[in-house]
Symmetry: C2
Subunit: 332 residues, 2 copies
């Protein structure tokens, strides 16, 4: 028996079809990286990347040399590059802009680690601090609208290098998914006077069945309409619109819960490919009473195909309550 669930924010539907996990090739393993490949992100290879724009270093003042803990560099193969300005170029029917933005790589460790679970909480705290600092940097650029932070781990999740890294794409328009979430949250706030993510946190705490882990400042749960097996969201428990304003002690707490969720995921299903993405209030917004920043962790264990592409719906072969229970039962 399948179950149709609607995402309470974006309104797409998910077909929860537990029987489907029995079909051939239902769960995919991520192919390993070739260990002979040289790694441009390892300590000592600083000359193989563009010049760093931020680094946490043991010796202040050094640059593009070893002895760093976290290092941020422009992407060598940028999807988008900085330029003079975002001039709208509009045709009769089609709209386009000159590409204008930035694409940066946050190298999360000098050592060749693969998964977030390999980093210490102290290392991960500095990664999240670097995320904040780069967002705050780009927020001052009036041509830019949003900084999309994301991470790809494993080839099945689209990573082209194994060494632990996350990425920031700074773009001159608010991404459609974020704009749709904000519009829906605004509508909900107008009707009910409360942020829908705050209501979601209350509903999940009351139910308990989809919770994965909890820390003093953050909650993680498998969303009601999880798109894929073991999808997990992490939110600050108190309303917070802007990720970049998170106080330092809360960043340590965030690092602890992110590591905990990834460790539980890997204990439950083995090392697997995954993505995570940060959704936060766009640069230009001055108030954020209705939008609540959150991190979405999405393992790449099942293939999405023509149905998802054509419909915008998803087929999830594992019930969200089962995904949550399997992770919750693991040691922290």
């Amino acid at each position: 028996m399948s179950d149709l669930r609607q995402d309470p924010i974006l309104n797409h539907w998910v077909i929860v079809a537990a029987g489907r996990s029995q079909r051939p090739g239902a769960f995919i393993a991520s192919p390993p990286f070739d260990p002979r490949l040289p790694c441009p992100f390892c300590e000592g290879h600083e000359d193989e990347t563009p010049h760093e724009v931020l680094a946490f270093r043991h010796v202040a003042g050094e640059t593009d040399r070893p002895r760093w803990r976290v290092r941020v560099v422009p992407n060598k193969f940028p999807a988008i590059e900085n330029c003079g300005g975002a001039r709208p170029v509009e045709g009769d029917f089609y709209h386009r802009l000159d590409g204008c933005g930035a694409h940066e790589v946050i190298i999360e460790s000098p050592r060749h680690l693969a998964s977030t679970s390999d980093l210490s909480s102290a290392e991960l705290t500095e990664v999240f601090l670097a995320w904040q600092m780069r967002l705050a940097f780009w927020k001052r650029d009036a041509r830019m609208a949003y900084g999309q932070l994301f991470k790809n781990v494993g080839q099945a999740a689209g990573a082209s290098l194994e060494h632990a890294h996350s990425q920031l794409l700074v773009i001159p328009r608010v991404p459609n998914v974020v704009a749709a979430e904000i519009a829906a949250a605004h509508d909900y706030f107008q009707r009910r006077g409360v942020c829908p993510f705050c209501d979601m946190i209350r509903a999940e705490l009351a139910l308990g069945q989809r919770i994965v882990a909890e820390t003093p400042h953050h909650l993680s749960f498998v969303p009601f309409a999880a798109r894929l097996p073991f999808e997990t969201w992490i939110l600050p428990k108190s309303h917070a619109g802007h990720y970049e304003e998170t106080p330092r002690p809360h960043l340590e707490d965030l690092a602890a819960i992110v590591r905990s969720v990834i460790r539980r995921l890997e204990a439950a299903v083995g090392r697997c490919a995954y993505n995570y993405v940060l959704h936060t209030t766009p640069f230009a917004a001055t108030a954020a009473t209705h939008y609540h920043w959150h991190l979405e962790i999405v393992p790449a264990m099942v293939k999405t195909a023509g149905f998802e592409l054509g419909s915008g719906w998803f087929i999830n072969p594992v019930a969200p309550e089962d995904s949550a229970r399997l992770m919750r039962e693991q040691a922290d």
Copy 2:
């Protein structure tokens, strides 16, 4: 220099970043299927599938036996199944429905062929006829809202079996992507008095640079804001809202252009994994002056990852005009 292009219907943006195709692993090969695997779709294996619901056969009246040309069976691992009725089950915060629908497989040939280019035009015409007949069948079921037809070819595109097949998922709500296209098309029609897809056809014919192939009744082109390399759309040149009402001679013409596009794709880049999806007017709609059915062909040659997941935008490392030219220059 990258170029930001907005989809004229769905409004998401695509970053066209030609330099990106130089990064490691930019284009992925689809792993081959294990040739030792038994195939439940080959002629003579009819007892390995659920009972057929439609077949075009050499001998009328036979069922679940050899000597067929196209055969439609329920999916052995259905994402959704028929049931008593779609009863809404609504909680305080979350909405759900009992799963209710159908999941069918259209086996496109008795022979173990892999790609649409391996089928003859006559075979493919019968496949598109079977699509029509199954849509028309389910349209009479008042509990159902839409039939999503799609095809996955190659493991990288999510296929779990190699043998040429397409799928129909019948669902009790209109898919969000189709609903969004229809809403945008309705809005455009209200403002300009014409279907936006008809305007798109006019714009593409006038420009010519993104056209891939043309037949008497259909046009194929790489869309202005193609999400991925070699994405190609096929539309009837005259306005037509309902795919299932396409007259038989037009189906032959459709088969010819679909084969031509896939052959050109494979001549340009080699055999690759791809999906295609049909978007057509939902079951309940009586008039369709503003929505225009179309087939979207999307090769699975680049990995989408955290950025696409988080933003709803795409990064296309091949300019749509280059994709179109490379396919257009191939022999038919």
